[in-house]
């Protein structure tokens, strides 16, 4: 071999470098597509205007013992999760575009482990979702909810964990699909109901829906967020005003486990060769 070719393997390709570069690419692509940015900023602003405009009235939680929870307080965490859900999952549609444009093929034959591909795409999508969540959080501060700095940091971290879980879920779905239309179908029959039945929209009552809520991991994401948002670190009475919710440790544990499991499923999915890999 000549000297020029002997230098190829001076260092092994670092998987974390691949994660970083794929994640960064995701963000750059996002900010270059103006309609996506407008949508991303517009959606939280729209929700914020709706809340601010007329829904500030008193709202009594069914089964709750406190009549003073406002409509806004009740719906804010669920809306936050909805924003994250939409953005996180739509961000992974880009995997279908990557396939169609042939970019994915080049990544598949690069010396990059599949978990690095998954993490790069998922972190990229999660950061976009998180940015939107933070924007809505900031808007929320202007209409009624006071947050401490610590609380904001913890909430942001928690939102990131939720976003990672949902983006990984979207990745798993998108990996097998060859059209964005198919993705929209799954979105409406699976993901939207998943959100509706998470306690974001209405609390659990005694019907069979209670059981659906109980096994839906998003229920714990919403409940955990609800607790964190109304959490007062200096108060001992942590359960007020949501005595019916799962305990904080259960919420956080389920959410973290859900994200970890989603990532593992996404990784296993990406390890398999699909027909969609064969583009030409």
């Amino acid at each position: 071999m000549t000297e020029s070719t002997a230098t190829i393997n001076e260092r092994p390709a670092g998987p974390w470098l691949a994660v970083w570069t794929l994640c960064q690419r995701e963000l750059v692509r996002f900010f270059r597509q103006r309609n996506r940015v407008i949508g991303a900023v517009g959606q939280p602003v729209l929700f914020w205007i709706l809340f601010g405009a007329g829904f500030g009235s008193s709202f009594s939680m069914p089964g709750g013992d406190n009549g003073h929870t406002t409509y806004f307080q009740y719906y804010f965490p669920g809306t936050l999760v909805l924003i994250i859900l939409f953005t996180a999952i739509f961000a992974t549609i880009s995997i279908i575009e990557d396939r169609r444009e042939g970019f994915l093929q080049a990544v598949l034959v690069a010396p990059v482990p599949r978990w690095a591909l998954v993490l790069g795409k998922v972190f990229g999508g999660s950061l976009i979702a998180l940015a939107q969540g933070v924007l809505f959080l900031a808007l929320g501060m202007t209409i009624g909810i006071p947050f401490s700095l610590l609380q904001i940091l913890v909430v942001i971290l928690y939102m990131f964990v939720i976003a990672v879980g949902l983006t990984a879920l979207g990745f798993t779905i998108a990996w097998r699909l060859d059209s964005t239309q198919g993705f929209h179908a799954i979105m409406s029959i699976f993901l939207i109901p998943m959100w509706l039945l998470s306690g974001a929209f209405f609390p659990a009552d005694d019907s069979w829906l209670r059981w659906v809520l109980r096994v839906n991991p998003l229920t714990y994401a919403v409940a955990g967020l609800r607790r964190l948002l109304y959490w007062d670190p200096f108060s001992q009475a942590a359960d007020v005003p949501f005595p019916d919710l799962p305990s904080p440790s259960v919420c956080y544990l389920v959410t973290v486990l859900f994200s970890a499991a989603s990532l593992i499923v996404a990784w296993q999915t990406a390890r398999r060769t699909t027909k969609g890999d064969l583009l030409s």
């Binding site: 020029s4 230098t7 960064q24």
Partner: protein, 315 residues
């Protein structure tokens, strides 16, 4: 294991569901060769390309690249090969520079060495002035050059290209070949490409002809042409079967009918034409005479014409 083989394939068979795309292929590609797989659409070139580029797993048989088994050592092989797919693999929303930078990161290149390689590839391929442009603003020929830059960025020892000249005009095609020869000479890169154009394959050092998943010929273009027994004569006529039989009976050599035309290969073809026309007055509508081409080799080996519809292989 022969250490001078860039690629060694033995008994490679590949199925899609129950369709056999590649059947029991065995061949070697030497280090430093420009090697072309040529064949009609559906011949198995793209399947072979997918296997060699590690995109699909090996099913049956064995294949090694620089002595590393495709079955067990795909990640080492990935470091040593550059791949240029037929479907463009560029991110259109990113600039030329950004595409190269991400590619470099995927191959573990960073900082100064990455910058140096990018600069070198861009200047080698005449892209320096366009480095800041978004890929979506580039012409097809320029995009193909960016693909080449991407494929060569990490100094692969073997460059695999699937139908690299599809969509290129003749000038761009010439540039491509100049570049391929240049990297072979200067960087000792082995080049393996697929094509459905026989005239393109003739530019390679050695060619392998694939038809319906089988390897029907493998040699240098000259050696292959020499295997065809002389000049090729094609005769258009109303009843080709009858004329073929009559010519065969009259002159005592094999005559075939291919795609409705009488076809024969004999030395001293120009003299033979005159004798045939005289022997069968009024029955010959048109005669084509040609020195043996790769198409003749193909017909000789497969018994049918090389259908060139210009469309890239699908599936």
């Amino acid at each position: 294991m022969n250490s001078s083989s860039a690629i060694r394939v033995t008994g490679l068979t590949h199925h899609y569901d129950d369709r056999c795309a590649v059947n029991d292929l065995s061949f070697d590609v030497e280090v430093g060769e420009i090697f072309a797989f040529v064949g009609p659409n559906g011949g198995g070139k793209t399947t072979l390309f997918r296997v060699l580029s590690t995109l699909v797993p090996l099913q049956k048989g064995d294949a090694a690249i620089f002595g590393h088994s495709l079955r067990t050592d795909a990640s080492e092989i990935r470091r040593q090969i550059g791949v240029v797919f037929q479907a463009p693999g560029l991110d259109h929303k990113l600039s030329v520079d950004e595409n190269l930078r991400h590619q470099g990161h995927l191959y573990g290149l960073t900082a100064a060495s990455l910058r140096e390689r990018c600069d070198k590839m861009l200047s080698q391929l005449g892209l320096t002035a366009r480095r800041g442009d978004l890929v979506e603003k580039l012409s097809g020929g320029l995009r193909r050059r960016v693909e080449l830059a991407k494929g060569m960025l990490h100094r692969p020892r073997l460059l695999l290209l699937d139908e690299p000249s599809t969509g290129l005009d003749p000038a761009a095609r010439n540039d491509l070949w100049t570049y391929l020869r240049q990297i072979r000479e200067q960087e000792d890169v082995t080049v393996v490409l697929t094509t459905h154009l026989l005239e393109e394959a003739e530019r390679a050092d050695r060619i392998a002809i694939l038809d319906k998943g089988n390897l029907v010929a493998l040699d240098t273009p000259d050696a292959l042409r020499d295997t065809v027994g002389g000049d090729a004569i094609t005769i258009q006529t109303a009843d080709s079967r009858q004329l073929a039989d009559d010519i065969g009976a009259e002159f005592q050599f094999p005559v075939e009918v291919i795609d409705g035309a009488v076809r024969l290969e004999q030395p001293e073809g120009h003299r033979l034409i005159a004798r045939i026309v005289e022997a069968f007055p009024g029955r010959v509508d048109a005669v084509t005479f040609s020195r043996p081409s790769l198409e003749d080799v193909f017909i000789d080996r497969t018994g049918h014409r090389f259908c060139q519809d210009g469309a890239p292989e699908k599936g």
